[in-house]
Symmetry: C2
Subunit: 201 residues, 2 copies
């Protein structure tokens, strides 16, 4: 009797086959493509299957539900993003932490355009209202660390400062998404200059 991999979530079972992994990765890739092109609402199991050259139930063989597919795709791009930004922040000095955060995120999302839409859609469309604090807290901590290292008093409202910077990043990469000619390097420079300005009020 065939026991279908009893994976309720995206956690793989004991030993995912080579083919298993390959197909899963392929399905995730096509899902990212589809979300980038048609948005969250425009993605369907049939659409994913067609892109991957298989049938709809084949997708559901590898993932327990449509939500599992989309979640896996989202977590994939999120992991890559935080890896990139995390590395850039760690490589920078504490003084330059916020600037490194902003410019590395803008750079990553400018290069991996397909991932951008996926992340934006996921954040704005999180079925369970996500913990919004998780978005701005890391940046807020970088801000406080930078101020501390620079010998400044703590920001009385680092939450708002982080929201402003984070929102600016969103707007810049969204603009890049719709106008590939937009110069995000310059935009990142302008934003970091503005961040620097917050240290000398």
């Amino acid at each position: 009797m065939a026991m279908p991999r009893t994976s309720k979530t995206s956690s793989e079972g004991a030993s995912p086959t080579f083919a298993q992994r390959h197909r899963r990765a392929q399905i995730i890739e096509k899902t990212i493509e589809l979300v980038a092109e048609k948005g969250y609402a425009g993605v369907s199991l049939s659409g994913i299957a067609e892109r991957a050259g298989i049938t709809k139930p084949a997708v559901l063989y590898h993932f327990s539900s449509k939500a599992a597919v989309v979640d896996a795709a989202y977590e994939h791009v999120l992991h890559e993003l935080v890896s990139h930004v995390g590395a850039a922040v760690e490589a920078a000095s504490a003084e330059e932490g916020p600037a490194a955060y902003a410019s590395s995120m803008i750079e990553y999302l400018s290069v991996n355009r397909r991932h951008t839409r996926m992340i934006i859609e996921a954040l704005s469309n999180s079925d369970a209202e996500r913990d919004t604090a998780a978005r701005w807290k890391p940046l807020a901590q970088l801000i406080q660390a930078a101020r501390r290292t620079r010998g400044l008093a703590p920001d009385p409202d680092s939450r708002t400062t982080a929201l402003i910077i984070g929102g600016a990043i969103d707007a810049i990469v969204t603009e890049k998404l719709q106008d590939p000619a937009y110069d995000t390097r310059n935009a990142a420079a302008q934003l970091t200059a503005l961040i620097d300005a917050t240290y000398t009020p």
Copy 2:
């Protein structure tokens, strides 16, 4: 023979009845509610009809399609928003134009929380990719006007500056949407302070 109002778009025919107007307004109101609660994807003709206490075809009697309903609802909230912001900007001096733009928009969207989601969803989900320039150009012009009045050189990249400010506004009102206790008045003050900082580089 009953001639169904031959309105393809949301443009009303020659003489919309009182009842016509009332129903239309009610349908639009319920649609805004629904979008605010469930997002663009979660709105359906049946849902709208149920909210309004009528049947699905009744909605289609007043509007030619689902898209027409949603468009009308979006244009309704957009009109109110631009009226509010436009009045605030006109009441302010040219020097304070950008700050008035930002704070009035934050104030309006903090008060009319239901409208916020509608606008955000519409902008991010515009079926035909909207002219992105329309979003930042008005603010960019306010920025240039403010600099001119202050005797400063024109911003070499007012587009990016406008995007940064606009993105910050988005983030602040989104945060307010999920945490009603968030102090947007203070956030607006902080943002206008940052805008002021751009005048002295």
